[in-house]
């Protein structure tokens, strides 16, 4: 079959990202309880990361800065 003939039988395809994603999710729906566990685990992981970053605020303010004499900054 020649290249041009080959293309003739091809059909045009519509693109619709939201509909495609929604359909993929419909397949995931049958694992909804497993996905609930996944969701909870992700929340735990994400919040642990958020909390770990806040750890520096009291560490520096209450311990490091309190133990060291702070320099005096003057403008100009």
């Amino acid at each position: 079959m020649s290249e041009s003939n080959y293309r003739e039988i091809r059909r045009s395809r519509a693109n619709d990202i939201p509909a495609t994603v929604k359909r993929i999710f419909s397949y995931l729906a049958q694992y909804k309880w497993l996905l609930v566990i996944v969701f909870l685990c992700i929340i735990i992981e994400a919040l642990t990361n958020v909390a770990s970053s806040y750890f520096f605020t009291p560490l520096i303010n209450d311990y490091t800065c309190a133990a060291l004499p702070l320099p005096t900054f003057t403008a100009g």
């Binding site: 495609t20 685990c41 750890f55 605020t57």
Partner: protein, 536 residues
């Protein structure tokens, strides 16, 4: 520790979810394709169809397994980090958010540009697969007609298009990560400078600035991570779109209600029964009436065209009484195979009616109709499995003894017994370890074991030498006894003992009668038989 455990658990679960989802998608796609009309397979190459099961479905894996959890993680991290940042310094948060909007806008802009090229990449890869498959199957033809150069030229065109689309899609997608990373560094530097100034002013504590800067990095990380997976996401969506499009293609319509059932004849009265009796009946579920399956097929003023305005059959009328052998003779494209395609409802007639034992075939369930028809085609498809399995394919309920009896009927038993493991010999790759004639004998045995009242032989011996044809004809003669048979053959010697021969030209029956009648008419058949004319 808590975060690490949670991450381990969800990754393990996502692996199960991803594999299961792809498994279900493959199953749905395969099931749907089993119900597709013949036209679908006529307009798609094998390579293209295989592509749906390999590239397209596999492309969805990163979207479910990696991107989806990461996206949820990013959203929760963003919300959590933003909340903490607002608590620590609302002013710096506003600046960070402004820069984040800029990063996101760049991602969306580049994404839109690259997506169309990713879709094109998937299509061109599918084109290549289809073309390669055709060229590999037709390699002998390519060599015989010395079309190697043309073949390479056409392939190069597909290949060039794939390369061009890949370059463009990657050019956009791969520029995304460096842009995002650099924008996040700028954001970090701006926040660091302004935060340091706030510390000097005394409006922000040093500890708060340290945490704030960590949050700035924490936001940039997942956003950059998502942009890194951008290629995969676009490929996933393009693959899913192609696969779902096939799954949305309408399946074969079947409005038929009448079913084929096992029956028993008790003193002239047909009674439905669950076990196989060798007698079948058509059952109308609405009334419960049973009509004995005899094999009486009639075409009344049938007109048909595959595409509008190009009539393939015009006002064709014929009948085949139970046990009669009807032959179709004519040039290629005269409409011989189309008639058989209409009888088994691969296509539906546009005008006129085809009846089977007095029932319009459109009222009969396609599965029941096809169960009552046996077909022996020129091209034999054997499946991976033993010789016995391949014969049993004609009737999955058949016992070993019935399969052997069918093989004996088809004259296949002697050659099967000479095979290394007899009926247990494994056949692979469409039975390439057998000759064309042996494959055809197995095909006849397969038709025999299904024991259909109506048989269609479409050029069954066309690709076989005359010596093998004689062996096969003996098998076919036994198979044809007591059945309604439609024969399509180019060799007139194979149709001369038919009850009626239909000579078709341009979709119309131009002559009909038995062999002797047609010779007396001294028309088209006479010319063909005497060699005064040849079939195209």
């Amino acid at each position: 520790m808590c975060g690490i455990t949670a991450a381990y658990i969800y990754r393990r679960i996502m692996s199960i979810v991803t594999t299961g989802t792809l498994h279900n998608m493959r199953l749905d796609l395969f099931s749907h394709m089993q119900d597709m009309p013949v036209q679908f397979y006529d307009t798609h190459t094998h390579g293209e169809l295989m592509n749906f099961y390999t590239n397209d479905i596999d492309a969805i894996r990163p979207l479910i397994g990696d991107t989806l959890p990461q996206m949820i993680n990013t959203i929760i991290s963003l919300v959590g980090s933003m909340t903490m940042m607002i608590i620590l310094s609302p002013k710096l948060t506003l600046i960070t958010m402004t820069l984040l909007v800029l990063v996101t806008s760049v991602s969306v802009f580049v994404g839109k540009r690259s997506r169309k090229y990713f879709v094109k990449v998937m299509r061109t890869v599918s084109d290549i697969n289809g073309y390669v498959e055709e060229m590999l199957l037709g390699q002998k033809e390519v060599k015989v007609f010395s079309h190697e150069k043309e073949s390479v030229k056409a392939f190069s065109k597909f290949n060039d298009e794939t390369m061009e689309a890949s370059i463009k899609s990657n050019m956009f997608a791969q520029s995304l990560m460096p842009i995002n990373v650099n924008l996040s560094y700028i954001s970090y530097a701006v926040v660091a400078v302004l935060g340091a100034k706030a510390c000097i002013d005394g409006s922000l504590e040093l500890g708060a600035l340290a945490s704030f800067l960590l949050y700035t990095r924490q936001i940039a990380g997942p956003v950059s991570g998502l942009s890194q997976q951008f290629n995969g996401v676009m490929m996933s969506i393009a693959g899913a779109e192609r696969m779902f499009e096939v799954m949305d293609t309408p399946t074969e319509v079947d409005e038929g209600k009448i079913e084929l059932v096992n029956a028993i004849n008790e003193e002239g009265v047909l009674i439905e029964c669950p076990q196989r009796t060798g007698t079948f009946a058509w059952k109308d579920p609405a009334t419960g009436d049973l009509t004995e399956l005899k094999g009486d097929i009639r075409l009344n003023d049938v007109t048909f065209s595959y595409v509008p305005d190009k009539v393939v059959l015009k006002d064709v009328s014929l009948y085949a009484k139970p046990g009669q052998k009807i032959a179709f003779v004519g040039s290629t494209g005269a409409g011989k195979t189309t008639i058989t395609n209409l009888i088994n409802r691969f296509y539906d007639v546009q005008e006129g009616v085809i009846t089977y034992d007095g029932i319009p075939v459109n009222n009969i369930k396609k599965s029941s109709l096809r169960k009552s028809l046996g077909m022996v085609l020129q091209d034999t498809n054997l499946f991976s499995g033993t010789v016995m399995d391949n014969i049993r394919y004609g009737n999955l309920e058949a016992t070993d003894e019935e399969c052997i009896a069918a093989a004996k009927l088809a004259n296949a038993d002697s050659f099967i017994n000479r095979l290394p493991d007899g009926y247990d010999t494994m056949l692979t790759a469409n039975g390439t370890n057998l000759s064309q004639g042996q494959r055809q004998l197995l095909n006849i045995a397969r038709a025999a074991v299904s024991n259909p009242p109506v048989l269609i032989l479409d050029e069954a011996t066309s690709s076989i030498d005359t010596h093998t044809e004689r062996v096969i004809e003996k098998g076919m003669d036994k198979l044809m006894q007591g059945r309604t048979v439609f024969v399509i053959a180019h060799r007139l010697s194979t149709v001369r003992n038919s009850n009626a021969i239909m000579v078709l030209e341009h979709g119309q029956i131009v002559e009909r009668g038995d062999h002797d009648d047609l010779l007396r008419q001294k028309g088209r058949y006479y010319k063909l038989y005497t060699g005064a004319a040849e079939l195209d």
